[in-house]
């Protein structure tokens, strides 16, 4: 369920792991109460640093997405935050589907659509950065 992060993306590995866990919750692959792999087994499986896995779990706990229970491991939280992830994601999915369909209908290639989305997202981050 959690696959190997790509170090050459230039994105911190703990962030990639966090995104993956959140995405698994969004899609319903992970549900409230489900147990996540232990830090050490996951580090060994993905061949990444255990400190990095621990950092990702700590941040996810901080965001209320998972709960770390001492001695027992990490579990998807039953909190509203975790529930909302799934609902938010699933209700937004049709918007993306229809936007992509309309762009394709205008004759744009998938590669062009991807670039437009990425540029738009980069612009959004910039606006956020300037505000802060």
């Amino acid at each position: 369920m959690i696959f190997k992060p790509n170090p050459s993306l230039g994105v911190p590995i703990y962030l990639q792991l966090m995104e993956q866990v959140k995405h698994a919750i969004e899609t319903g692959a992970l549900r409230p109460g489900d147990q996540l792999p232990g830090i050490r087994p996951l580090a060994e499986q993905l061949v990444i640093n255990a400190n990095t896995v621990a950092k990702a779990y700590r941040e996810l706990e901080h965001e209320g997405v998972i709960e770390l229970k001492h001695g027992a491991g990490a579990f998807v939280s039953g909190s509203e935050q975790a529930q909302k992830l799934a609902v938010k994601f699933r209700s937004a999915q049709p918007l993306v589907t229809s936007a992509v369909e309309r762009l394709r209908a205008r004759g744009l290639s998938d590669e062009e659509i991807r670039r437009m989305f990425e540029a738009e997202l980069a612009g959004f981050r910039k606006a956020g950065g300037q505000g802060g």
């Binding site: 050459s8 911190p12 962030l15 580090a43 990444i48 910039k126 300037q130 802060g132």
Partner: protein
């Protein structure tokens, strides 16, 4: 840093007037896997030699476990608590795998018999084979087994994956990750294999010409470095003088590309007055950071 296993301050080492280390400042945090990166001749091996008391510094300080690396008594203590895998994988060629494991174990009071069993199974080393008849990969795995089982608090590995095929490389990296997690040992990984460091290290030190260029947590470095591409209506300006954190700048017609070590926000703010028509921010890989920092002035071509 209070909880650092290795610390050097303004460390210098000259060989017949040639400075191999020219003021190296290195810290390695306890429990980390730290990648020591540099080109050939950057000073990686000299650094290791000084840490292990195999070379005396010309000036400056170096300590391991808080003990001075250049005093005889403390240096013995450092070596007792450290395992070193040299680039040459120096092993007694005339012994069999079995003999060498027993021989080595006899020197280490804290030898981990449990780990020995694990790694013998995992590495599939033929017990009766003479060490000299092992493949490059087999030799590396044996050297690594001896280091991992020694019970050392610090592992220093010089180019541990050089000459290995991708499968053997992955096996070596996996055993390092797993060892660091199981034993809380600190690992210093000297290499120019950026992909290894990218994958398993949580800290990194990039050195060049005997100096430290970049040192810190890899995720912080990944988060800090950004490439910002600014497109202008007319000719792009020469650069953005006075903005902190700019590592390299390149101007091509209407496009100005800036590599920053301190995020993109400040650069975008400063660039606003110049009214760019478009701004793109891209993440930067460790390889690009390495090339841009070690290449110095010439690195502008790499932006």
């Amino acid at each position: 840093m209070a909880d650092s296993i290795i610390a050097t301050a303004d460390l210098r080492k000259s060989y017949e007037g040639v400075e191999a280390l020219a003021g190296l400042n290195l810290t390695v945090a306890r429990g980390s896997i730290c990648g020591l990166l540099g080109r050939n001749g950057a000073g990686k091996t000299t650094t290791i030699k000084v840490l292990l008391g195999m070379a005396r510094p010309t000036s400056g300080r170096a300590s391991v476990f808080g003990l001075a690396a250049d005093a005889e008594q403390t240096s013995v203590e450092i070596r007792r608590r450290t395992a070193f895998v040299s680039e040459e994988r120096d092993l007694y060629d005339s012994m069999t795998v079995e003999q060498l494991i027993h021989f080595t174990a006899s020197f280490y009071p804290r030898w981990r018999k449990d780990l020995e069993q694990d790694y013998r199974r995992k590495f599939e080393l033929p017990a009766d084979r003479a060490v000299k008849h092992l493949s490059r990969g087999g030799r590396t795995k044996l050297a690594l087994l001896l280091a991992l089982c020694s019970g050392a608090e610090l592992l220093i590995l010089d180019e541990p994956t050089s000459g290995l095929d991708p499968a053997a490389t992955e096996e070596v990296l996996q055993s390092l990750v797993s060892h660091a997690a199981r034993t809380e040992a600190t690992v210093l990984l000297s290499t120019h294999q950026l992909t290894d460091v990218d994958q398993i290290a949580d800290h990194v030190a990039i050195i060049d010409r005997g100096r430290t260029l970049v040192v810190g947590a890899l995720d912080d470095i990944r988060a800090g470095y950004r490439r910002v591409q600014l497109v202008f209506d007319g000719e792009a300006p020469e650069g953005l003088p006075g903005v902190p954190g700019i590592v390299a700048t390149r101007r091509q017609g209407r496009v100005l590309t800036v590599l920053s070590s301190a995020g993109a926000d400040r650069i975008i703010d400063e660039a606003q007055v110049l009214k760019p028509v478009s701004v793109d921010v891209l993440p930067v890989t460790l390889k690009e950071i390495f090339l841009a920092t070690v290449a110095g002035e010439g690195g502008n071509a790499l932006v």
